[in-house]
């Protein structure tokens, strides 16, 4: 078999980011050993089985316990983690992963390719995003440190897909292969190991003393990197109420908190004991557009609506001022960022929109907006959009449901015109998952767009990254041009930490390796 070296050792990406890694790392010797850190999060942890969850609350905890073969580095590029290296065959159909040696599970057993094989099989059998492995023809473990994947079709984005941490392909002991969804024993190879999980209260992890940091890296680098743990324990506490999270931080009971309200952040800015850690472009607000139900089955009506919306007003109200306006579905700095389609974004011209509506021969059909009461910012965005659309002469009805009902209603083609949502713009989503809902057969409620489907296929199959980036730009432009999705803006998520917490760098998911507590 002819092999071409695709990713150099550490997947190249790891080395590429080593400058950044070095800057975020702290020499372990300089860090104080010991300490119990408390992280407060807003959402309850439904399960610790990452194969069976799309919840970020699950990943907040579990990414500190479990590891993947290939993960992402600080700049979202694939980076080797449990794999030492990987190679792609000349025909692009075979990937051979060499595993790091001496990696142990929390139960003391050494990890081998049999565990990787079993974990991937479990993922392919029952994981929520098992479609990622849909092109896999066969998997094998020819020796203890080699894992081979054969594909049915060439898939140049295979490594990008398997390294995504949207629903991560975490590695578990082979004995767990047949565990049903949500019934996985919490055993992994990560730097922290499981102690207890009290639903609706907390998850407690402690340092895994048998952990061998990956010496190929310098320091923190996404979910790969050299992970050195000095803390004794990390407690992930559920504190839903934002005011209570801020109070706990001020009182020193909580060390790191997520989602600080804008008003509280203004006050905390003067508190010397607290550091604010804003993460710009954390989440984008928008709405899916139904091309099946009148009047949004008419492109001219959709364009009129797109032209009417003032995104600044929408985001100001929805996020209390913590936002950025930019047309990209990725954010500036992401490898696939593009502003293609910007001429359609934030036009905010109601007079022109009203004229377009007349031109479209709008007959007064009701426009139904579905939003939810579970996420306050989505609800607020819907209220503002409703008013802006009424102002150009549209008859609008806003239906508000809880999240579970809103999801169910979305599946009824005739029940809505706009479905309000939000999604990550960051590393876990990436260009291949962003807006996948407008591609067939993913999207079952909106009329298929063959041009978009073809572009998406190109995005997955074009051999070079430069070609894929060009395709993604066309894809984004097509989404704007046909108004498949209305993007409002990017939300800034503000984390905050006590000054005593050292080495904590904000990322999409909190990481507690290379972190220490002073004093």
């Amino acid at each position: 078999m002819h092999l071409t070296r695709r990713g150099a050792l550490l997947g190249g990406a790891g080395l590429a980011s080593s400058g950044l890694a070095a800057s975020t790392a702290r020499p372990a010797a300089a860090q104080r050993r010991g300490g119990d850190i408390v992280f407060a999060q807003e959402a309850t942890v439904p399960t610790l089985d990452m194969h069976f969850s799309t919840s970020i609350a699950t990943r907040n905890v579990a990414m500190n316990m479990y590891e993947m073969l290939v993960s992402r580095n600080e700049t979202n590029a694939p980076a080797a983690d449990l794999a030492e290296s990987w190679e792609e065959s000349g025909d692009g159909l075979t990937y051979t992963f060499k595993l790091r040696r001496g990696v142990k599970f929390h139960n003391g057993k050494e990890m081998t390719s049999a565990d990787v094989l079993a974990s991937w099989r479990r993922y392919a059998r029952m994981a929520i995003q098992r479609r990622v492995l849909g092109d896999v023809e066969a998997m094998s473990a020819p020796d203890a440190s080699t894992f081979v994947v054969k594909l049915k079709n060439r898939q140049p984005t295979f490594i990008d897909q398997i390294s995504s941490f949207a629903v991560p392909i975490s590695i578990h002991p082979a004995e767990q292969e047949n565990a049903e969804g949500g019934k996985l024993e919490p055993i992994g190879t990560g730097p922290f190991q499981f102690v207890e999980f009290v639903p609706d209260s907390h998850v407690l992890l402690r340092r895994f003393d048998g952990y061998s940091p990956n010496q190929a890296y310098q320091g923190t680098d996404g979910f790969a990197g050299r992970k050195v743990v000095t803390l004794d324990t990390v407690r992930f506490r559920l504190v839903r109420e934002p005011g209570a999270r801020v109070a706990g931080l001020e009182a020193g009971e909580l060390h790191v908190v997520e989602d600080v309200p804008t008003k509280s952040a203004e006050r905390l800015r003067t508190n010397r004991d607290v550091r604010l850690l804003p993460m710009k472009h954390w989440w984008l607000h928008g709405a899916w557009v139904n091309h099946h139900r009148p009047p949004t089955n008419n492109l001219m009506v959709r364009r009129a609506i797109q032209t009417a919306l003032d995104m600044e007003a929408v985001m100001e109200i929805a996020t209390d001022g913590a936002y950025d306006l930019q047309p990209g579905i990725q954010y500036p700095g992401n490898p696939y960022y593009t502003d293609a389609g910007k001429q359609f974004y934030n036009v905010a011209d109601p007079e022109k929109a009203a004229a377009m509506l007349r031109q479209a021969n709008y007959q007064g059909q009701e426009v139904v907006i579905i939003t939810n009461s579970s996420f306050a910012s989505m609800y607020a965005a819907a209220v503002v959009v409703t008013e802006q659309l009424r102002a150009i002469g549209l008859k609008v009805r806003m239906d508000v449901f809880d999240w579970a009902t809103a999801i169910a209603r979305r599946r009824d083609n005739d029940a809505w015109n706009f479905w309000f949502t939000g999604q990550g713009t960051g590393p876990s989503v990436g260009p291949f998952t962003a807006l996948i809902d407008v591609v067939s057969p993913q999207l079952n409620q909106v009329v298929a767009d063959p041009t978009l489907d073809a572009l998406y296929n190109d995005l997955l199959t074009k051999p070079s990254e430069a070609e894929r980036k060009a395709v993604f730009a066309k894809f984004q432009e097509r989404v704007y041009e046909q108004v498949h999705f209305l993007k409002f803006g990017d939300l800034t998520k503000i984390q905050a930490a006590r000054s005593s917490v050292q080495g904590f760098t904000p990322y999409r998911i909190p990481r507690f390796w290379n972190v220490s507590l002073a004093g």
Binding site: R240, E241, G243, R409
Partner: protein, 315 residues
């Protein structure tokens, strides 16, 4: 009285079954199911169906209903879909949080609400009465989540006397457990204190106008005996009813207080089950809540006989 109680309990069984049947049907009629919640908003129908299959939710409604009732007859409340454990276990795990919280809140309610109401009635239309009535109105009117946050800011952040939230098990650290209970209990009790004080005051004012009170005073009984022995006993009949209802509500858990203080009690269990469509937990939770209310009603009825000698429950 024993037979009366036995008859009441027997009569409540069909009521409880009906409550669970209606709630089971209603929850299944509401759109959304656990599979969709787990899969996320962008999942395809095929992906949701696959999860539904794994969770056993693909079976027809009547089969699910029959399975649930069949289990119930054998004392099995089923298994939580989202928590991956038996429902009874999920409920039992929450009782050490909700039960003491409810008891502390009830104790505060009784110790403050009844004396405050009595004093207000005895000093009717004075500044004391106005102060008690005003504070009681405040207790009833102030939103509990706001009050809870203010207590956290005052006692947790500024004075640093008490924790800002979280629950410490008694077995882990009894002192920390007690400290973790103080603010939630006060937040939970204030509304009930306000209610009880107002009802006690109103009832006491009525009783004080009764002939037997006038007679007791006329025959020269000391004031404390008139109030303590004659008036208060009659005040207690409506007050016990209110206490019973309040305690039932406290035991069912307070979603707001548990949310603000990060206490994983019964209220949060049921609320999360509703949002995630965890049918077995909703069923189990409603059955528990219904049973508590039925039993407390029975206890209240039996207490009437203790308080009022004219009430007798024969066979």
């Amino acid at each position: 009285m024993f037979w009366y109680a036995a008859r009441r309990i027997a009569a409540s069984v069909p009521v409880l079954l009906l409550v669970t049947l209606i709630s089971f049907s209603m929850m299944h009629l509401v759109p959304g199911d656990p599979a969709a919640a787990i899969a996320g908003s962008g999942a395809t129908n095929a992906e949701i169906e696959a999860i539904r299959l794994q969770l056993g939710l693909d079976k027809p409604f009547l089969v699910q209903l029959a399975t649930w009732f069949g289990g119930l007859l054998q004392g099995d409340l089923g298994r939580s879909i989202l928590l991956n454990r038996p429902v009874w276990q999920a409920i039992v795990e929450r009782l050490p949080i909700t039960l003491p919280l409810a008891l502390f809140a009830l104790a505060l309610t009784l110790l403050i609400g009844i004396p405050a109401g009595v004093i207000a009635a005895l000093r009717a239309n004075t500044w004391v009465d106005q102060a008690v009535t005003g504070l009681a109105m405040l207790g009833v009117s102030v939103p509990s989540f706001w009050l809870a946050l203010m207590l956290i800011v005052l006692f947790g952040v500024h004075l640093e006397w008490l924790p800002t939230g979280g629950f410490v098990p008694f077995s882990e650290d009894p002192a920390a457990w007690a400290r973790s209970m103080v603010l939630p209990s006060i937040s939970l009790a204030l509304l009930q204190i306000g209610l009880l004080a107002r009802i006690t005051r109103g009832t006491m004012l009525e009783v004080l106008r009764q002939d037997y009170v006038r007679t007791a005073r006329a025959k020269g009984l000391p004031g404390w005996m008139v109030i303590g022995k004659h008036a208060l006993k009659n005040v207690m009949v409506p007050v016990v009813t209110v206490i019973g209802i309040s305690f039932g509500l406290l035991l069912s858990g307070s979603i707001v207080i548990e949310t603000v203080y990060g206490m994983p009690g019964i209220g949060r269990l049921i609320a999360n089950a509703i949002f995630g469509r965890d049918y077995p937990v909703i069923q189990g939770g409603l059955l528990l809540t219904g049973t508590i209310l039925v039993l407390l009603n029975l206890v209240v009825d039996l207490l009437y006989a203790v308080i009022d000698p004219r009430v007798r429950y024969g066979r």
